[in-house]
Symmetry: C2
Subunit: 157 residues, 2 copies
DNA sequence: ATCGATGCAAAGCGTTTGCAGGGGT
DNA sequence: ACCCCTGCAAACGCTTTGCATCGAT
């Protein structure tokens, strides 16, 4: 399980390349932030990344973590997830996945699923045309499956 | 178009019932916030709702708008949308729709689309079985199409 | 009379920015 | 030598909270 996540992380050499192609330098801080992100089993906040990376780089500042996360997202090796609560969460997974949102607990889980460029067309062939007429070009999608685990008791507020 | 949205809003009587069932009072401010939300063509931020509702209730405060939105969400008649940028957006539509997220402006738009109970099966027949084996019952989905309007200038940093 | 709701102002919190010093290229 | 990056602190914007007052039941 953990192996699978670590193995999905970019090796340092490729990370460096991704950063530099996008016009950023590859620094020890950014590498550490990326590695923490790639090894995380959940989607950490900036603060959580900060706390985790301090083990490797004690003098790192929270501002640097924010800037590193920005660089990683801009380089396409990490994603900033949309959230309802105040703080953003980050994701370094490279494989495409859906989210599974539990109505009972509110938890969000990853569901590994290959990215399907034709998904929209598959769902509704007329939809893409309709969007293109509006001038909207679809570059991706996010699918969230909502439901609940049967049997488990509710734990909502 | 606007008619269709207004007609999807709850009438005041039902709104009152929804609020009071959840333990909130139905006040003029909350009614006005709900109506502004239900008639909006996009998903306004709290600030936008505030500006809009001031026309009807000039002395309303931003704090009251936030509290009203909280009451509406807790009563199940509105939803707080997840966002990447700083401010939250709200939605009072009851009919099913996808979201269109613009990568350039961050705006979220509705895309009216009938709810398709078989959408997941249509995408991947094996997926439902896989989920049921996990004990997860899918009761709904949220689909967000990400992209951008062609031609318009970028406004990202 | 009670208890929640309002409006105002101030505080809170996540995030961003200005700036001086430091390091890679 | 240049320019980007770092770390610190201050600023910023969205949201929440404390509190006195108001209003409905």
């Amino acid at each position: 399980m953990i192996e699978a996540m670590i193995s999905s992380a970019l090796p340092p050499k490729e990370l460096r390349e991704a950063l530099e192609t996008a016009g950023w330098r590859c620094t020890p801080q950014r590498l550490a932030v990326y590695e923490h992100l790639a090894e995380a089993e959940h989607h950490p906040t900036a603060e959580e990344v900060y706390q985790g990376v301090k083990a490797a780089i004690p003098r790192i500042s929270l501002a640097t973590v924010y800037k590193a996360l920005e660089a990683l997202v801009a380089s396409g090796v990490a994603a900033k997830l949309t959230t309802t609560d105040g703080s953003a969460r980050y994701d370094a997974r490279r494989d495409h996945h859906y989210h599974l949102r539990c109505l009972r607990s509110g938890a969000v889980e990853d569901l590994p699923t290959p990215y399907d460029p034709d998904l929209v067309a598959k769902i509704d062939p007329a939809l893409l045309q309709q969007l293109e007429q509006k001038g909207f070009r679809v570059t991706g999608y996010r699918l969230e499956l909502v439901g609940f685990y049967e049997g488990a008791g509710a734990s909502r507020s």
